[in-house]
Every structure is written in C-alpha cells, then in structure tokens.
Amino acid sequence: MFRKILIANRGEIAVRVTRTLHEMGIAVVAVYSDVDRASLHVRMADEAERLGPAPSSESYLGIDRILEAAKKHGAEAIHPGYGFLSENADFAEACEQAGLVFIGPSAESIRALGSKTAARERAIHAGTPVVPGTEGAVTLDQARAFAQQHRYPILLKAVAGGGGKGMRRVDRDSDLESALRDASSEAERAFRNPEVYLEKLIERPRHIEIQILGDRHGNMVHLGERECSIQRRHQKVIEESPSPLVAQHPEMRQAMGEAAIRAARAAGYYNAGTVEFLVDPDRRFYFLEVNTRLQVEHPVTELVTGLDLVKLQVEISAGAELPFRQQDITWRGSAIECRVYAEDPYNHFLPFPGKITRLERPLGPGIRLDACVYEGWTVPMEYDPLLAKLGVWAGTREDAVARMIRALNEYEVGGIRTNIGFFRQIFQDPALREGRLHTGFIDEFLARDRPPAPPPELLTVAALAAALESIAPEPAAQPASKNGGNAWVLAGRRELLR
C-alpha cells in the first residue's frame, strides 16, 4: 500500500479524500494556489506545496508543477479528485511516465470515453441504448435532415463539451440556423472546438446514473444508481440513492447496471466511474456519457452501500482485487444530498464569494457533511462556488426528506449568500417530496412558485431585529464615544432632546 499520496485538488473534495487517506494511515500532500493558502485542505494535510497564483491555469491545472510537488515530497500516487485534471488523459499519462500512480482509470480509457461522441459509438457497439442522434459533428443540412426524420425538439451539444456549455434546445426549423451558429461559437469559446452534434430531445427526462467500480484484474461491479434529476442550468443540485423511480421498479437497477458495465468494459475501464443515463417517462433509459472519475455526488452511494469509494479507489490503484462480487453488494435505506453553493438564489443565483462570518453546521442523527468551510474563511472568487455537500441518510425516503429539511433548518452561513434557503423552499414541494422528478423541475418551480408569503409574525420579528440592529453600535467596534454612550444611549438622549 502507498505511504504518501498527493491530492491534486482543492475544496471539499480534497478534504474528503484527505479524511479517507488519514483513516488508511496514508500521509497526505496538499497543493494550493495563493488564495488557498489558509484553506481547510491545506490545514488538514500532512505536507503542502504551493503551485502558483490563483488562476487555475497557473495552479491546479499545472501538470508540471504538480508532478514536481509529488516528486519533491516523495508521494507515490496522485488522487485527482473531480474537475481540474481528473479527466485529463495527458495528466494520467504524465503521472505514469513520472513513476507515479494515477488514482483513476488508464489514460486510454479516459481518451476513449472523454469525447462524448466516441463514448456514444462505443456504447452503441456494446449494445447499450442511446438517444437518437448524429454520429458526430453536423452541418446545417445534416441537422435539418435529422430534425425531419426524428422531429423537433432536438438538442444541440458541443462535441468537446460539458456542464451545459454550447447546449441549445431547438423547437422549430426557423430557429435551427441561428441556434447552430450560437452553439458553435459558444463551444469555440469554451472548448476551442466549434463542433456541434445533435440529439433527439427527451422531454421531462430523469437523470439516473450508475456507479461502477472495476479492478485491474478484470472484475467489475455496479453499486446501484443515483438520481440527479434536480438540476439548474444542467448542473446537479440534489442527488439521491436509491432513485425514487427505481425504488418502485427494482428491475431497472439490474438492467441499467448491466448496461453500464457493458459500456465501461468496452473501453477497458478500471477504478471508479459513472455511467449517466436519461430515463424517459416510459422508463426507457438511454446512455448519456461516462464520467471517468469520482463524482461530486458519490457520498449518497456510500451512505446506502456502506462502502468507502475513495478507499476502494486507492486499493484498486495499488493493485488489489475488488474485495466483493456483485451479489455481495446490498443497499440499505435512502440517502439524499444537497449541493450548497455560494450564490444568491434571490438574485438570479449569481455567485457570492466573500468572508464567512458565521457558521452553524447541522449535526445529529444521519447527517454527513462534506465541506471545506470554516468561520472566518474567505470563499475565493476564482473557483467553483461549491461550499459543501449536505448528505442525510434514513431508513426510508420519506424520513430522509424530513431529515434533510431538519438539517437545512439547522444550517446557517453568514457573511455570504448561499442556496440553503432555496433548498428549504423546494423541499416543501409535493412533487419533490413524493419523488416525481425530472430535469426541468427547478425551472418549473421558479416559474410557478414565487416564494411563499411569510407569516405576518415573521415580518414583525424581522422588523424588530432590523430596528434593534440599526440602533446597535457598528459591528467594527467603534471607539466608545467620550460621553460613554452606545448608540442606544445616544438615541435615548436624542429622544429626550426632541
């Protein structure tokens, strides 16, 4: 087993990986950019190395600097986390060439599955169902022919894409030409590749994905599904396992699990990975893509299977065989996770970095909090706004929802804005509570539900608190005035002078 591992990441995932490595008795080397010097992942690590200035291109994406840091500190392996270099085949290759173990799949597997169109072709060959779409980049004429055959709506997607960039819905022929042009220029700007392909759009789909795990000896299992239908702008916001739909139709888990394993095996996959599917209202599932890394939302799988995916990743990378077979995997209870972002849900979800002046964390039964924040820490403006993943586990989904609401009510982050209050609101929605989910849920919720009017008593309390705060001294402890009064005393004097 490894004695020392470098984590080529920051934020909550670096903290999460550190925790498991410490449990395994493995020393951790953290890396950081200048704005992350005081971040939790650096403070928790055994050793740390500066990478460079704040921009990712000069720090967390710097392959050479990271390899140098690993050599200097004597790390034997590198855990890439998610994002940054985690799905960069060149990085995986550079690690192996430098004599370091990349904790993830082979560079060849990342290449084979990294391009969505190549991954789709492999899936087709492996017999995994896919959404009708073009085999690769299209011209306007090809797009028009496809739309005539499969009918609108269709979806334009960047060949090199991800995260919703370069994605466009088209409902009618008259919009096709401009949509294609916009998607292409957005793809060019985001990925330096203007190529766009297209797919038949599945209306009101669910997003359900399968966690897979394989060793280097040809063994592969699936760890069941996660439902991630609650998204905003194609970014997942709430994830859960089991999927409420699969819980009602248990045969789906085996069918999707086997399809996922087929698709991954076709690319010679090992380590942890995720095969994403869209599921239509008739419960037909379609292959979407493979994520060749640990997912943000892996904790919900850990909560229902009792496994530690990071530990398994490390063991697999050290050459171990999977310690179980498919029939040994069991699922228990229900887990839900909310992604807590530094953003302002009351102002178009704009990012809101800044200093955290107050932090109350949810605690108690069934709570798992993966976070990188502490009171007094300044959330940098240079990176992703993900602050924390609030996970809960309970015996049933109904209890897990109740527990999530309870945990959200305990969670307070002051000084910056977060989406915690927004989660409290959407968990009141009957469709969400009953598990009737689809990827357009949040857009429909926002269009339909203006935030409910607060009870009048809350207005009274808010008014009182605001009045008391406004007559209290400024928080930046002003020097006491010569006549010894605080603002209240001064206000009282003014009152007398009236």
Partner: protein, 165 residues
C-alpha cells in the same frame, strides 16, 4: 424612538420603547408588545415573542439590512426620521442611473468612459466571480458621468461602479 422601515418594499413604522434584553415595541401604531431579546453574536438575535422562539440573523450590506429567519429573507431599509436627510439622495436619484455590482467579484472589463453617450441596453462593464461573467447594462439612454472602478478592481455586492445621467 420611532424608525421608518421599508420591508421588502412595504413601508412600516416601528417604535422601540425599550431595547434588548427586555424589549418593548409598537408596530404601525398598534398595541405595545414585549419581546425577550438575547444577542449571542454580532448580528444574531434570539427573540422570544409570545412564547415562540425565533433565531434571527441580520447582515449589513451597503444598501440595506438583510434579515434571515426561518428560511425567509427580508431586505429592510431603516430610516430614522430625525436623522434622515432624504432630500439630497432623492434629488440626485431622480435622473441619475447608478450601476451597482450585482455580486462580489472582479471588474474584468470597462466598456465605456466618462462622457460617453450610451444607449439603453448598452454594456457598461463586466464583473466576474467564480467563472461567471455578468455584463452590467445601461437601463436607459444618457451620458456616463463617472466610472468609479478600474479594470481588475475587486468589488463588493452593491458597490457603485458607474453613474449615468
């Protein structure tokens, strides 16, 4: 002491008859009420009112107070009628458009200079945070009086970036 509040756009008057911890107050000239108020930290209020417990967080922003309780968020302007000299701002506010930072971030581009004529919808500057860029646009036609920030400046939410008249 009487304070005029604007709670989410609705005017209210509150009269504070006694401060924390045994606060007494009157809302919009109604009956006098008593509340037990503890202050466990800066901007934190634990309020007991009619036997119910409320945990309230108050944040000061450049423009107003933000009050959060029970998952609700209120934006509250507080004016002390005797201190409030609304005239200057009101007069200025009538025909001046103020461009404010929508979020904390960095000014990555300034698209106009003082003296430029602008059209409605024209980009004034671009603020970036957490990989998201936000172009601030003129709401109406006019002339740029001042751009109060430079490219590369770090700004906080609600900070004045430019004025147009």
């Amino acid at each position: 002491m009487k304070l005029n509040l604007i709670v989410d756009g609705t005017p209210q008057e509150i009269e504070i008859l006694a401060p924390a911890p045994h606060s007494r107050f009157r809302l919009d000239g109604g009956v006098e009420r008593a509340a037990d108020v503890a202050v466990p930290g800066p901007g934190l209020y634990s309020i007991l009112l009619d036997g119910r417990s409320y945990d309230v967080q108050v944040e000061r922003t450049p423009r107003h107070l933000v009050v959060v309780l029970d998952g609700y968020r209120f934006e509250i302007d507080v004016h002390d009628p005797r201190r409030w000299s609304g005239r200057s701002e009101n007069q200025r506010g009538a025909d001046v458009e103020t461009i404010l930072a929508p979020m904390p971030g960095k000014v990555v581009r300034v698209l106009v200079a003082a003296g430029d004529a602008v059209e409605p919808g024209q980009g004034i500057l671009v603020v970036e945070a957490m990989k998201m860029q936000n172009e601030m646009k003129a709401a109406r036609a006019g002339r740029v009086i001042a751009v109060t920030v430079k490219e590369g400046a770090t700004v906080s939410a609600g900070e004045v970036l430019a004025t147009i008249a």
